[in-house]
Protein backbone atom coordinates (compact mmCIF):
# COMPACT_ATOMS: atom_id res chain seq x y z
CA UNK A 1 0.00 0.00 0.00
CA UNK A 2 1.66 3.23 -1.08
CA UNK A 3 1.59 6.41 1.00
CA UNK A 4 1.77 8.70 -2.02
CA UNK A 5 0.40 7.68 -5.40
CA UNK A 6 0.99 10.05 -8.32
CA UNK A 7 -0.85 9.10 -11.52
CA UNK A 8 -0.45 10.68 -14.96
CA UNK A 9 0.17 14.15 -13.51
CA UNK A 10 0.68 16.93 -16.06
CA UNK A 11 1.31 20.63 -15.68
CA UNK A 12 1.72 23.27 -18.36
CA UNK A 13 2.93 26.85 -17.95
CA UNK A 14 1.92 28.69 -21.13
CA UNK A 15 3.90 27.02 -23.93
CA UNK A 16 6.06 24.98 -21.58
CA UNK A 17 5.05 21.44 -20.72
CA UNK A 18 6.57 21.40 -17.22
CA UNK A 19 5.32 17.92 -16.32
CA UNK A 20 3.86 15.29 -18.59
CA UNK A 21 2.07 12.20 -17.33
CA UNK A 22 4.23 11.54 -14.30
CA UNK A 23 3.58 8.28 -12.42
CA UNK A 24 5.23 7.15 -9.23
CA UNK A 25 4.62 5.82 -5.72
CA UNK A 26 6.23 6.33 -2.35
CA UNK A 27 5.75 3.77 0.41
CA UNK A 28 5.53 4.54 4.15
CA UNK A 29 8.98 5.29 5.59
CA UNK A 30 10.67 5.06 2.21
CA UNK A 31 13.38 7.49 1.08
CA UNK A 32 13.22 8.29 -2.61
CA UNK A 33 15.43 10.60 -4.67
CA UNK A 34 14.22 12.85 -7.46
CA UNK A 35 16.91 14.01 -9.86
CA UNK A 36 17.16 15.59 -13.26
CA UNK A 37 18.92 18.42 -15.06
CA UNK A 38 17.94 22.07 -14.48
CA UNK A 39 14.39 22.75 -15.61
CA UNK A 40 13.46 19.04 -15.63
CA UNK A 41 10.36 19.75 -13.51
CA UNK A 42 11.54 18.62 -10.07
CA UNK A 43 10.34 21.66 -8.15
CA UNK A 44 7.16 21.80 -10.22
CA UNK A 45 6.41 18.23 -9.20
CA UNK A 46 6.85 19.14 -5.53
CA UNK A 47 4.64 22.18 -6.02
CA UNK A 48 2.01 20.01 -7.69
CA UNK A 49 1.95 17.51 -4.81
CA UNK A 50 1.82 20.26 -2.15
CA UNK A 51 -0.94 22.25 -3.84
CA UNK A 52 1.10 25.34 -4.74
CA UNK A 53 0.52 24.72 -8.46
CA UNK A 54 -2.35 22.25 -8.80
CA UNK A 55 -1.79 19.89 -11.75
CA UNK A 56 -3.77 20.35 -14.97
CA UNK A 57 -4.40 16.63 -15.30
CA UNK A 58 -3.84 13.44 -13.36
CA UNK A 59 -4.46 12.49 -9.74
CA UNK A 60 -2.44 12.52 -6.55
CA UNK A 61 -3.48 10.40 -3.59
CA UNK A 62 -1.93 10.57 -0.13
CA UNK A 63 -2.87 8.01 2.50
CA UNK A 64 -6.29 7.47 0.93
CA UNK A 65 -7.01 11.20 0.44
CA UNK A 66 -7.26 12.75 -2.98
CA UNK A 67 -4.92 15.76 -2.92
CA UNK A 68 -5.75 17.08 -6.37
CA UNK A 69 -7.70 20.31 -5.98
CA UNK A 70 -7.04 20.71 -2.24
CA UNK A 71 -5.56 23.95 -0.92
CA UNK A 72 -1.92 23.91 0.14
CA UNK A 73 -2.70 24.38 3.84
CA UNK A 74 -5.14 21.46 3.79
CA UNK A 75 -2.49 19.22 2.20
CA UNK A 76 -0.01 20.30 4.89
CA UNK A 77 -2.52 19.38 7.60
CA UNK A 78 -3.06 15.94 6.04
CA UNK A 79 0.63 15.20 6.65
CA UNK A 80 2.64 16.33 3.64
CA UNK A 81 5.49 18.61 4.72
CA UNK A 82 8.01 20.39 2.55
CA UNK A 83 11.08 22.58 2.50
CA UNK A 84 11.68 25.29 -0.07
CA UNK A 85 14.60 25.38 -2.47
CA UNK A 86 15.45 28.91 -1.35
CA UNK A 87 15.04 28.95 2.45
CA UNK A 88 12.02 31.09 3.29
CA UNK A 89 11.78 31.59 7.02
CA UNK A 90 9.16 33.84 8.62
CA UNK A 91 11.48 36.82 9.02
CA UNK A 92 9.57 38.60 11.78
CA UNK A 93 9.48 35.50 14.01
CA UNK A 94 12.23 33.87 16.05
CA UNK A 95 13.58 30.48 14.99
CA UNK A 96 11.51 28.89 17.75
CA UNK A 97 8.31 30.60 16.57
CA UNK A 98 9.04 29.54 12.99
CA UNK A 99 8.75 25.93 14.15
CA UNK A 100 5.82 26.70 16.46
CA UNK A 101 3.72 27.82 13.46
CA UNK A 102 3.97 24.39 11.84
CA UNK A 103 3.28 22.62 15.13
CA UNK A 104 0.19 24.69 15.91
CA UNK A 105 -1.45 24.78 12.51
CA UNK A 106 -0.49 21.47 10.90
CA UNK A 107 0.95 19.48 13.80
CA UNK A 108 -2.30 19.76 15.78
CA UNK A 109 -0.63 20.86 19.01
CA UNK A 110 -3.28 22.57 21.11
CA UNK A 111 -1.50 25.33 23.02
CA UNK A 112 1.26 27.80 22.20
CA UNK A 113 3.13 26.69 25.34
CA UNK A 114 3.09 23.00 24.40
CA UNK A 115 4.13 23.87 20.86
CA UNK A 116 7.06 25.95 22.16
CA UNK A 117 8.31 22.99 24.21
CA UNK A 118 8.05 20.67 21.20
CA UNK A 119 9.65 23.23 18.90
CA UNK A 120 12.61 23.41 21.25
CA UNK A 121 13.04 19.61 20.97
CA UNK A 122 12.86 19.77 17.17
CA UNK A 123 15.44 22.58 17.05
CA UNK A 124 17.70 20.41 19.25
CA UNK A 125 17.16 17.51 16.86
CA UNK A 126 18.26 19.49 13.77
CA UNK A 127 21.13 21.11 15.66
CA UNK A 128 19.73 24.58 16.19
CA UNK A 129 19.12 24.17 19.92
CA UNK A 130 21.20 27.21 20.83
CA UNK A 131 19.62 29.45 18.18
CA UNK A 132 15.96 29.21 19.25
CA UNK A 133 15.66 32.85 20.27
CA UNK A 134 17.50 34.28 17.25
CA UNK A 135 15.88 35.93 14.26
CA UNK A 136 16.30 33.85 11.07
CA UNK A 137 17.97 36.86 9.45
CA UNK A 138 21.10 36.18 11.50
CA UNK A 139 21.47 32.51 10.44
CA UNK A 140 23.99 31.09 7.97
CA UNK A 141 22.75 29.24 4.88
CA UNK A 142 23.31 25.84 6.56
CA UNK A 143 21.31 26.88 9.59
CA UNK A 144 18.55 28.31 7.39
CA UNK A 145 18.28 24.91 5.68
CA UNK A 146 18.08 23.25 9.08
CA UNK A 147 15.34 25.71 10.06
CA UNK A 148 13.42 24.82 6.88
CA UNK A 149 13.66 21.18 7.89
CA UNK A 150 12.66 21.96 11.49
CA UNK A 151 9.54 23.84 10.39
CA UNK A 152 8.57 20.99 8.06
CA UNK A 153 9.16 18.44 10.83
CA UNK A 154 6.96 20.53 13.12
CA UNK A 155 3.99 19.93 10.83
CA UNK A 156 4.11 16.28 11.91
CA UNK A 157 4.43 15.23 8.27
CA UNK A 158 4.44 11.55 7.36
CA UNK A 159 5.84 12.50 3.98
CA UNK A 160 8.53 15.14 3.64
CA UNK A 161 9.42 16.72 0.33
CA UNK A 162 12.91 18.17 0.54
CA UNK A 163 13.72 20.57 -2.29
CA UNK A 164 17.51 20.74 -2.80
CA UNK A 165 18.28 20.91 0.86
CA UNK A 166 22.02 20.41 0.19
CA UNK A 167 22.60 23.02 -2.50
CA UNK A 168 25.26 25.52 -1.54
CA UNK A 169 26.60 23.46 1.34
CA UNK A 170 30.20 22.31 1.72
CA UNK A 171 31.10 18.61 1.57
CA UNK A 172 31.28 18.38 5.36
CA UNK A 173 27.96 20.15 5.75
CA UNK A 174 26.37 17.79 3.21
CA UNK A 175 27.57 14.77 5.15
CA UNK A 176 25.99 16.27 8.27
CA UNK A 177 22.75 17.04 6.43
CA UNK A 178 22.50 13.50 5.03
CA UNK A 179 23.01 12.07 8.50
CA UNK A 180 20.18 14.30 9.70
CA UNK A 181 17.89 13.16 6.89
CA UNK A 182 18.63 9.53 7.77
CA UNK A 183 17.66 10.22 11.36
CA UNK A 184 14.39 11.75 10.14
CA UNK A 185 13.74 8.58 8.14
CA UNK A 186 14.39 6.47 11.24
CA UNK A 187 11.44 8.26 12.88
CA UNK A 188 9.29 6.60 10.23
CA UNK A 189 8.88 9.62 7.94
CA UNK A 190 8.84 8.95 4.21
CA UNK A 191 11.06 11.31 2.23
CA UNK A 192 11.15 12.48 -1.35
CA UNK A 193 14.34 14.45 -1.85
CA UNK A 194 15.10 16.59 -4.85
CA UNK A 195 18.79 16.81 -5.44
CA UNK A 196 21.16 18.31 -7.93
CA UNK A 197 24.14 16.44 -6.55
CA UNK A 198 23.89 12.95 -7.96
CA UNK A 199 26.61 11.51 -5.72
CA UNK A 200 24.70 12.64 -2.62
CA UNK A 201 21.45 11.08 -3.69
CA UNK A 202 23.06 7.83 -4.81
CA UNK A 203 24.31 7.28 -1.28
CA UNK A 204 21.20 8.34 0.60
CA UNK A 205 18.25 6.93 -1.36
CA UNK A 206 16.83 3.46 -1.79
CA UNK A 207 15.14 4.36 -5.03
CA UNK A 208 15.59 7.15 -7.54
CA UNK A 209 13.27 8.81 -10.03
CA UNK A 210 14.82 10.72 -12.92
CA UNK A 211 13.03 13.56 -14.73
CA UNK A 212 14.06 15.24 -17.96
CA UNK A 213 12.01 17.87 -19.81
CA UNK A 214 9.02 17.12 -17.60
CA UNK A 215 9.03 13.39 -18.29
CA UNK A 216 10.02 10.50 -16.07
CA UNK A 217 12.87 8.87 -17.98
CA UNK A 218 13.97 6.32 -15.40
CA UNK A 219 13.21 4.84 -12.00
CA UNK A 220 15.19 2.27 -10.02
CA UNK A 221 17.86 1.57 -7.45
CA UNK A 222 20.95 3.82 -7.45
CA UNK A 223 22.91 1.11 -9.30
CA UNK A 224 20.30 0.73 -12.00
CA UNK A 225 20.08 4.51 -12.43
CA UNK A 226 23.87 4.89 -12.72
CA UNK A 227 23.90 2.37 -15.61
CA UNK A 228 20.73 3.61 -17.34
CA UNK A 229 21.58 4.86 -20.85
CA UNK A 230 18.72 7.41 -20.86
CA UNK A 231 19.99 8.95 -17.62
CA UNK A 232 23.55 9.10 -18.88
CA UNK A 233 22.33 10.77 -22.04
CA UNK A 234 20.25 13.33 -20.10
CA UNK A 235 23.15 14.28 -17.88
CA UNK A 236 26.06 14.04 -20.31
CA UNK A 237 24.33 14.91 -23.54
CA UNK A 238 22.49 18.06 -22.36
CA UNK A 239 23.86 21.60 -22.45
CA UNK A 240 24.59 21.41 -18.75
CA UNK A 241 27.35 18.82 -19.20
CA UNK A 242 28.45 16.41 -16.50
CA UNK A 243 29.74 18.94 -13.99
CA UNK A 244 26.98 18.41 -11.49
CA UNK A 245 26.90 14.66 -11.87
CA UNK A 246 30.55 14.34 -10.99
CA UNK A 247 30.49 16.42 -7.84
Amino acid sequence: MSLLAVRRVSKRFGGLQALSEIDFDIGPGEIVGLIGPNGAGKSTLINAVTGVYPPDAGTIHFDGHELTGLAADRIARLGVGRTFQIPQPFGSLSCLENVVVGLLFAGKVASVEAAAAEARAILEFVGLGDKAALAPGSLTIVDLRKLELARALGTGARLLLLDEINTGLTAAEITEAIRLIERVKQRGTAILMVEHLVRVIMGACERIIVLDFGRKIAEGTPDEIARDPAVIRAYLGGQKGGGDAGR
Binding site: R74, F105, V112, T155
Partner: protein
Amino acid sequence: MGALRRLRRELIVAALMLGLPLLLLTLVRELFVLQVLTFVFIFAIYAQSWNLAAHSGQFSLGHATFLGLGSYASIIAASRLGLAPAVALFVGPILPALAGFAIGALCRRLREAYFGMVTFGCTAIVQVLVVEQFGWLTNRWDGLDAPRLAPEGLPVERVAVLNYVISLALMVATYLVVAAIIRSRIGLAFVAIHDNETVAAAAGVSVVRYRLLAMGVAGYIGGVAGALNGHTLTRHISPGVFGLEDSIWPVLYSIAGGLGTPEGPILGTLLVRVFWEWALRRIGGFDSLILIGLMLALVVTALPRGIYPVFARATAALGARLTPNSVKQP
Protein backbone atom coordinates in the same frame (compact mmCIF):
# COMPACT_ATOMS: atom_id res chain seq x y z
CA MET B 1 -4.24 31.40 33.21
CA GLY B 2 -1.57 30.95 30.55
CA ALA B 3 -3.07 33.74 28.50
CA LEU B 4 -3.12 36.09 31.49
CA ARG B 5 0.49 35.33 32.26
CA ARG B 6 1.44 35.94 28.65
CA LEU B 7 -0.38 39.28 28.79
CA ARG B 8 1.12 40.39 32.10
CA ARG B 9 3.16 43.11 30.45
CA GLU B 10 0.14 44.31 28.45
CA LEU B 11 -2.01 44.45 31.58
CA ILE B 12 0.55 46.72 33.23
CA VAL B 13 0.69 48.92 30.13
CA ALA B 14 -3.13 49.02 30.05
CA ALA B 15 -3.25 50.10 33.70
CA LEU B 16 -0.84 52.96 32.92
CA MET B 17 -2.77 53.88 29.79
CA LEU B 18 -5.93 54.13 31.84
CA GLY B 19 -4.38 55.64 34.96
CA LEU B 20 -2.33 58.49 33.51
CA PRO B 21 -5.14 60.14 31.51
CA LEU B 22 -7.48 59.79 34.52
CA LEU B 23 -4.84 61.48 36.66
CA LEU B 24 -4.61 64.22 34.05
CA LEU B 25 -8.38 64.63 34.29
CA THR B 26 -8.06 65.63 37.94
CA LEU B 27 -5.57 68.35 36.97
CA VAL B 28 -6.87 69.70 33.66
CA ARG B 29 -10.47 70.56 32.89
CA GLU B 30 -9.88 72.75 29.86
CA LEU B 31 -12.52 71.82 27.28
CA PHE B 32 -10.15 72.08 24.34
CA VAL B 33 -7.57 69.75 25.90
CA LEU B 34 -10.22 67.19 26.77
CA GLN B 35 -11.57 67.25 23.23
CA VAL B 36 -8.17 66.84 21.61
CA LEU B 37 -7.40 63.90 23.86
CA THR B 38 -10.84 62.35 23.26
CA PHE B 39 -10.08 62.62 19.57
CA VAL B 40 -6.72 60.91 20.19
CA PHE B 41 -8.41 58.04 22.07
CA ILE B 42 -10.98 57.50 19.31
CA PHE B 43 -8.47 57.66 16.49
CA ALA B 44 -6.08 55.42 18.40
CA ILE B 45 -8.86 52.80 18.26
CA TYR B 46 -9.11 53.46 14.53
CA ALA B 47 -5.33 53.17 14.06
CA GLN B 48 -5.43 49.94 16.08
CA SER B 49 -7.91 48.57 13.53
CA TRP B 50 -5.63 49.44 10.60
CA ASN B 51 -2.63 48.02 12.41
CA LEU B 52 -4.37 44.68 13.02
CA ALA B 53 -5.13 44.27 9.31
CA ALA B 54 -1.54 45.28 8.48
CA HIS B 55 -0.32 42.70 10.99
CA SER B 56 -1.65 40.01 8.65
CA GLY B 57 -0.01 41.68 5.64
CA GLN B 58 -3.14 43.53 4.51
CA PHE B 59 -2.16 47.18 4.06
CA SER B 60 -5.49 48.86 3.57
CA LEU B 61 -5.78 52.23 1.86
CA GLY B 62 -9.54 52.28 2.25
CA HIS B 63 -10.01 52.04 5.96
CA ALA B 64 -12.45 54.96 5.92
CA THR B 65 -14.98 52.37 4.71
CA PHE B 66 -15.02 50.91 8.21
CA LEU B 67 -14.93 54.26 10.01
CA GLY B 68 -17.81 55.60 7.90
CA LEU B 69 -20.00 52.49 7.88
CA GLY B 70 -19.62 52.11 11.65
CA SER B 71 -20.70 55.70 12.11
CA TYR B 72 -23.67 55.46 9.75
CA ALA B 73 -24.88 52.10 11.06
CA SER B 74 -24.65 53.16 14.69
CA ILE B 75 -26.39 56.50 14.09
CA ILE B 76 -29.17 54.87 12.07
CA ALA B 77 -29.59 52.14 14.70
CA ALA B 78 -29.90 54.83 17.37
CA SER B 79 -32.16 57.30 15.56
CA ARG B 80 -34.31 54.91 13.47
CA LEU B 81 -34.44 51.78 15.60
CA GLY B 82 -34.41 53.68 18.86
CA LEU B 83 -31.41 51.92 20.36
CA ALA B 84 -29.55 53.79 23.08
CA PRO B 85 -26.36 55.24 21.57
CA ALA B 86 -24.35 53.25 24.13
CA VAL B 87 -25.85 50.05 22.63
CA ALA B 88 -25.86 51.20 19.01
CA LEU B 89 -22.14 51.84 19.42
CA PHE B 90 -21.56 48.09 19.57
CA VAL B 91 -24.37 46.94 17.24
CA GLY B 92 -23.57 49.33 14.38
CA PRO B 93 -20.00 48.06 13.82
CA ILE B 94 -21.42 44.66 12.80
CA LEU B 95 -21.98 46.27 9.37
CA PRO B 96 -18.31 47.26 8.81
CA ALA B 97 -17.27 43.86 10.18
CA LEU B 98 -19.32 42.24 7.40
CA ALA B 99 -17.84 44.74 4.95
CA GLY B 100 -14.41 43.65 6.21
CA PHE B 101 -15.20 40.02 5.39
CA ALA B 102 -16.54 40.99 1.96
CA ILE B 103 -13.59 43.21 1.05
CA GLY B 104 -11.19 40.59 2.44
CA ALA B 105 -12.83 37.95 0.25
CA LEU B 106 -12.68 40.21 -2.80
CA CYS B 107 -8.97 40.89 -2.18
CA ARG B 108 -7.99 37.43 -0.94
CA ARG B 109 -5.43 36.89 -3.70
CA LEU B 110 -3.99 40.42 -3.53
CA ARG B 111 -1.09 41.79 -1.58
CA GLU B 112 0.69 45.06 -0.93
CA ALA B 113 0.05 47.88 -3.46
CA TYR B 114 -2.64 45.84 -5.27
CA PHE B 115 -4.48 45.19 -2.03
CA GLY B 116 -4.18 48.89 -1.17
CA MET B 117 -5.58 49.95 -4.55
CA VAL B 118 -8.62 47.70 -4.39
CA THR B 119 -9.42 48.66 -0.77
CA PHE B 120 -9.14 52.30 -1.83
CA GLY B 121 -11.55 51.62 -4.69
CA CYS B 122 -13.98 49.93 -2.31
CA THR B 123 -14.26 53.14 -0.30
CA ALA B 124 -15.39 55.02 -3.42
CA ILE B 125 -17.94 52.28 -4.18
CA VAL B 126 -19.27 52.35 -0.62
CA GLN B 127 -19.62 56.13 -0.81
CA VAL B 128 -21.76 55.84 -3.94
CA LEU B 129 -23.86 53.10 -2.32
CA VAL B 130 -24.42 55.18 0.79
CA VAL B 131 -25.35 58.35 -1.14
CA GLU B 132 -27.34 56.86 -4.02
CA GLN B 133 -28.73 53.40 -3.27
CA PHE B 134 -29.30 54.07 0.42
CA GLY B 135 -29.94 57.80 0.07
CA TRP B 136 -33.45 57.37 1.54
CA LEU B 137 -31.80 56.14 4.75
CA THR B 138 -28.68 58.30 4.84
CA ASN B 139 -30.09 61.66 3.74
CA ARG B 140 -27.65 61.70 0.81
CA TRP B 141 -24.93 64.39 0.85
CA ASP B 142 -26.47 66.25 3.78
CA GLY B 143 -25.81 63.36 6.13
CA LEU B 144 -27.35 62.59 9.49
CA ASP B 145 -27.22 64.16 12.92
CA ALA B 146 -26.11 61.78 15.63
CA PRO B 147 -27.84 61.40 18.98
CA ARG B 148 -25.27 62.06 21.65
CA LEU B 149 -23.82 59.37 23.86
CA ALA B 150 -24.14 61.44 27.03
CA PRO B 151 -27.60 61.62 28.63
CA GLU B 152 -29.74 64.67 27.82
CA GLY B 153 -29.57 67.58 30.24
CA LEU B 154 -25.95 67.09 31.21
CA PRO B 155 -23.91 70.31 31.19
CA VAL B 156 -21.28 70.69 28.48
CA GLU B 157 -18.29 70.24 30.81
CA ARG B 158 -19.68 67.01 32.22
CA VAL B 159 -20.38 65.74 28.68
CA ALA B 160 -16.77 66.40 27.70
CA VAL B 161 -15.52 64.49 30.75
CA LEU B 162 -17.90 61.59 30.06
CA ASN B 163 -16.83 61.37 26.39
CA TYR B 164 -13.20 61.50 27.49
CA VAL B 165 -13.60 58.66 30.00
CA ILE B 166 -15.68 56.42 27.72
CA SER B 167 -13.33 56.88 24.75
CA LEU B 168 -10.34 56.21 26.98
CA ALA B 169 -11.92 53.04 28.39
CA LEU B 170 -12.76 51.78 24.89
CA MET B 171 -9.24 52.55 23.68
CA VAL B 172 -7.73 50.54 26.53
CA ALA B 173 -10.22 47.70 25.97
CA THR B 174 -9.36 47.66 22.25
CA TYR B 175 -5.67 47.64 23.13
CA LEU B 176 -6.14 44.56 25.32
CA VAL B 177 -8.24 42.75 22.72
CA VAL B 178 -5.70 43.45 19.96
CA ALA B 179 -2.77 42.52 22.21
CA ALA B 180 -4.51 39.26 23.17
CA ILE B 181 -5.07 38.46 19.49
CA ILE B 182 -1.50 39.33 18.51
CA ARG B 183 -0.01 37.25 21.33
CA SER B 184 -2.23 34.23 20.61
CA ARG B 185 -1.96 31.53 17.95
CA ILE B 186 -4.12 33.74 15.72
CA GLY B 187 -1.49 36.47 15.91
CA LEU B 188 1.18 33.95 14.99
CA ALA B 189 -0.86 32.98 11.92
CA PHE B 190 -1.22 36.69 11.01
CA VAL B 191 2.54 37.25 11.16
CA ALA B 192 3.26 34.06 9.20
CA ILE B 193 0.86 35.23 6.48
CA HIS B 194 2.39 38.73 6.60
CA ASP B 195 5.88 37.28 6.10
CA ASN B 196 5.16 34.68 3.42
CA GLU B 197 1.78 33.26 2.38
CA THR B 198 3.16 30.27 0.49
CA VAL B 199 5.25 29.12 3.43
CA ALA B 200 2.42 29.87 5.86
CA ALA B 201 0.16 27.53 3.85
CA ALA B 202 2.92 24.88 3.79
CA ALA B 203 2.97 25.12 7.58
CA GLY B 204 -0.78 24.43 7.66
CA VAL B 205 -2.11 27.99 8.15
CA SER B 206 -5.47 28.55 6.41
CA VAL B 207 -4.31 31.73 4.76
CA VAL B 208 -7.64 32.97 3.39
CA ARG B 209 -9.53 32.21 6.61
CA TYR B 210 -7.10 34.15 8.80
CA ARG B 211 -6.92 37.03 6.35
CA LEU B 212 -10.71 37.31 6.42
CA LEU B 213 -10.69 37.10 10.21
CA ALA B 214 -8.21 39.97 10.40
CA MET B 215 -10.33 42.10 8.07
CA GLY B 216 -13.56 41.28 9.92
CA VAL B 217 -12.13 42.19 13.33
CA ALA B 218 -10.46 45.30 11.85
CA GLY B 219 -13.83 46.26 10.34
CA TYR B 220 -15.54 45.95 13.70
CA ILE B 221 -12.90 47.91 15.62
CA GLY B 222 -12.73 50.61 12.94
CA GLY B 223 -16.53 50.77 13.07
CA VAL B 224 -16.50 51.30 16.84
CA ALA B 225 -14.13 54.23 16.34
CA GLY B 226 -16.44 55.72 13.72
CA ALA B 227 -19.55 55.24 15.84
CA LEU B 228 -17.87 56.71 18.91
CA ASN B 229 -16.67 59.69 16.90
CA GLY B 230 -20.20 60.31 15.64
CA HIS B 231 -21.92 60.05 19.00
CA THR B 232 -19.36 62.16 20.87
CA LEU B 233 -17.28 64.63 18.86
CA THR B 234 -18.76 65.30 15.42
CA ARG B 235 -22.42 64.56 16.32
CA HIS B 236 -22.97 64.30 12.59
CA ILE B 237 -22.00 62.02 9.72
CA SER B 238 -21.80 62.85 6.03
CA PRO B 239 -20.42 61.00 2.99
CA GLY B 240 -17.26 63.11 3.23
CA VAL B 241 -16.02 60.50 5.71
CA PHE B 242 -15.32 58.20 2.75
CA GLY B 243 -12.66 60.58 1.43
CA LEU B 244 -8.96 59.93 1.14
CA GLU B 245 -7.99 61.76 4.31
CA ASP B 246 -9.63 59.42 6.79
CA SER B 247 -8.02 56.45 5.05
CA ILE B 248 -4.55 57.97 5.27
CA TRP B 249 -4.55 59.06 8.92
CA PRO B 250 -4.49 55.57 10.48
CA VAL B 251 -1.60 54.63 8.18
CA LEU B 252 0.37 57.69 9.33
CA TYR B 253 -0.46 57.13 13.01
CA SER B 254 0.54 53.47 12.85
CA ILE B 255 3.73 53.97 10.89
CA ALA B 256 4.83 56.88 13.08
CA GLY B 257 4.11 54.88 16.21
CA GLY B 258 5.55 51.57 15.04
CA LEU B 259 4.02 48.81 12.91
CA GLY B 260 3.16 45.42 14.26
CA THR B 261 2.91 46.31 17.94
CA PRO B 262 -0.35 46.96 19.78
CA GLU B 263 1.22 49.98 21.51
CA GLY B 264 2.60 51.70 18.39
CA PRO B 265 -0.69 53.01 16.95
CA ILE B 266 -1.67 54.56 20.28
CA LEU B 267 1.65 56.33 20.76
CA GLY B 268 1.67 57.40 17.10
CA THR B 269 -1.85 58.84 17.25
CA LEU B 270 -1.02 60.74 20.43
CA LEU B 271 2.22 62.25 19.12
CA VAL B 272 1.09 63.06 15.58
CA ARG B 273 -2.25 64.46 16.70
CA VAL B 274 -0.96 66.59 19.56
CA PHE B 275 1.78 67.93 17.30
CA TRP B 276 -0.80 68.62 14.60
CA GLU B 277 -3.12 70.51 16.96
CA TRP B 278 -0.18 72.54 18.28
CA ALA B 279 1.02 73.34 14.75
CA LEU B 280 -2.49 74.34 13.63
CA ARG B 281 -2.76 76.88 16.44
CA ARG B 282 0.76 78.26 16.17
CA ILE B 283 1.45 78.13 12.47
CA GLY B 284 -1.85 77.67 10.63
CA GLY B 285 -3.24 75.17 8.12
CA PHE B 286 -0.98 74.98 5.08
CA ASP B 287 2.34 75.55 6.80
CA SER B 288 1.54 72.97 9.43
CA LEU B 289 0.75 70.48 6.65
CA ILE B 290 4.30 71.00 5.40
CA LEU B 291 5.58 70.65 8.93
CA ILE B 292 3.75 67.38 9.52
CA GLY B 293 5.03 66.05 6.22
CA LEU B 294 8.56 66.89 7.29
CA MET B 295 8.02 65.31 10.68
CA LEU B 296 6.79 62.07 9.15
CA ALA B 297 9.67 61.99 6.67
CA LEU B 298 12.03 62.45 9.59
CA VAL B 299 10.40 59.67 11.59
CA VAL B 300 10.49 57.11 8.79
CA THR B 301 14.09 57.90 7.83
CA ALA B 302 15.50 58.11 11.35
CA LEU B 303 13.19 55.53 12.95
CA PRO B 304 11.89 53.20 10.24
CA ARG B 305 10.26 51.01 12.86
CA GLY B 306 8.49 53.97 14.42
CA ILE B 307 8.74 55.75 17.71
CA TYR B 308 7.46 52.91 19.84
CA PRO B 309 10.60 50.69 19.81
CA VAL B 310 12.64 53.61 21.21
CA PHE B 311 9.97 54.23 23.81
CA ALA B 312 9.77 50.50 24.62
CA ARG B 313 13.52 50.20 25.13
CA ALA B 314 13.46 53.08 27.56
CA THR B 315 10.55 51.67 29.55
CA ALA B 316 11.95 48.12 29.40
CA ALA B 317 15.18 49.34 30.99
CA LEU B 318 13.09 50.95 33.70
CA GLY B 319 10.89 47.83 34.01
CA ALA B 320 13.91 45.51 34.31
CA ARG B 321 15.03 47.47 37.32
CA LEU B 322 11.59 47.22 38.88
CA THR B 323 10.94 43.52 38.17
CA PRO B 324 14.19 41.50 38.21
CA ASN B 325 12.53 38.27 36.97
CA SER B 326 10.63 39.72 34.06
CA VAL B 327 10.04 37.32 31.18
CA LYS B 328 11.75 38.36 27.96
CA GLN B 329 9.37 38.95 25.10
CA PRO B 330 9.97 36.62 22.13
